[in-house]
Amino acid sequence: MEKKVLLAVTLSIVVILVYPIILAKINPDLANQTQKSQLIQKQVVVEKNIDNTTKETELVNELPSSAITANLTTDQYVFDLTNIGGSISRILIKDSKRKSDITIVTKAINLAGILSVEGKGMLSGMSLQPFIIYKDTKTFLLENKDLKLEKNISFLKDKYGLDTVIKITNKTTQNQDLTFDITVASNISKSEMAEARYIELDIHYKDGTTKKLTGNKLLENNKLYKNDIEWIALKNKYYSIIAKPNFDSKGVFIKNIAKEPTIGFIIEDDKIAPGNVKEYKINFFIGPMEIKELEKIDSSFTKALNFGFLTSISLILLSILQFFYSIFHNYGVSILLLTICINLFLYPLTFKSLKSMQKLQELQPHIEKIRQENKDNPTRLNKEIMELYRRYKVNPMGGCLPMVLQMPVFIALYNTLSRSVELKNSPFLWIKDLSMPDAFFPLGFSIPFLGSAINLLPILMIGAMILQQKISQSTTGSSQSEQQRLIANIMPIMFGFIFYSLPSGLVLYWLTSTLVTSSMQFFMFKKTT
């Protein structure tokens, strides 16, 4: 028997170690595969598509020494504007809620610069031309004998958003074709721990479908031709750049420039008459992916939130958490209240099984007798016990359904806690960040499995689970077999292991849940005796 338990423990540890890796592999792809068929995908190597004149220089990731950079500071952002290509080369987001500023885009120059334009014909080489920067009107301007190219930025007050417009004036005497790319996002930061796997490109179409690209697919030069684009987003774990065009883009391009994805809109075969001006407007969201902030810019931007395959449940949990947060201004308290809510919801089920647990005590002599009689025949023993339960209309077990029902809630909560920016850096009691382990005693050195700090919450949780067992053993009497008792002793420690490096908010949830059920059990038991 002990051998089996040992095996169980080893295997579980293997599962714990391997599971996150598998999960990371499975999750992003799952979303990709389902929508593959809806997309007409044309894979074109970019170099072939661009004029030979710019081919050599266009992937160069360096600025000439003559480049001028101007600085724009608002309540939300610090922007660096570069005159070469007339684009935004650095974006810093001021995130006062989490008291941390993040440089979401760095070193975005030439073709990778945000709002840079590169095309055919009269627009060829535009990403390398020097523009004039007008800081007061936040405008880039380039004028030559054929065209006038003007790019204007206007910030939105108290929002993480900006409106941009690109104006092209045809100064020639002939009709011109406009075929070009506009870069809207590139070089997105991945400074958070293991953040590279969260980098994702979402293309949201007007028919409501979303195409998601992650990992290596973002590093292939690619053109995805499909119009009716509502918006595209380049995201890391907590922040995103979302661009919504007001023109009909033919598709989205992805370019690998210095091993960083650069994305933007493709415009093909637009006509412009002599002397005419053509405007291309793009509305941006650049900021933390909070539901409220996203909604301020555009209600459809909330679709950029991705909490894995249970996103809808995660969003419900998040909205409950936010509701409590709006009253108590602390996410730890919100988690406590959410736990109580879920337990109240499951109360009829818990009550029923606790009731029959008590009745079981009266049957204890019968069970003991059956056990003695069928010592050598476990199948018969189990059958007899089940028959006994049925005869006396009791059943100590809660059933598989409540457990199966709780599983998605638990996974969704895990995703909410570890991926929603709202919970990032939110403190509770001694916990600095509910999305991370609580790290009560910092050690200063690192131990395998345990990391560089001792976490208190998982230890408290082990204590609570042992307590719960003691209570349930005293309510049901000693109906457990030797094996069950052994497993019961190992279980809290196993759980401690599993929970040890999970977000402290999740451990808090499980701890409260355990305490609530065991106190329910305790008081019901007390009432009857």
Binding site: K4, L7, A8, L11, S12, L349, T350, K352, S353, S356, N382, K383, I385, M386, E387, Y389, R390, K393, N395, M397, G398, G399, C400, L401, P402, M403, V404, Q483, Q484, I487, A488, I490, M491, M494
Partner: protein, 71 residues
């Protein structure tokens, strides 16, 4: 056949190691996982898993539970 083996082995794994660690809460004998295992063997992966799901739906505190072998 390959898929069937994967499904069967993961049920066996769940039954032997996970559910025993979680203190199985099943109200029936044989338990939901054993029941599903037999069902997958008998009806194939899709129908078998569906039958198992149906059993799990029945396995709640409002059901009587008890001896309920796969038929």
């Amino acid at each position: 056949m390959f898929l069937k083996n994967i499904v069967k082995n993961s049920i066996i794994f769940y039954h032997n190691y996970i559910s025993s660690l979680m203190l199985c809460q099943c109200r029936f004998y044989p338990s939901c996982s054993q029941y599903t295992l037999v069902a997958v063997e008998d009806k194939g992966v899709v129908l078998g898993l569906l039958k198992g799901l149906e059993r799990i739906m029945r396995c709640n505190p409002f059901s009587k539970g008890g001896y309920d072998p796969y038929k």
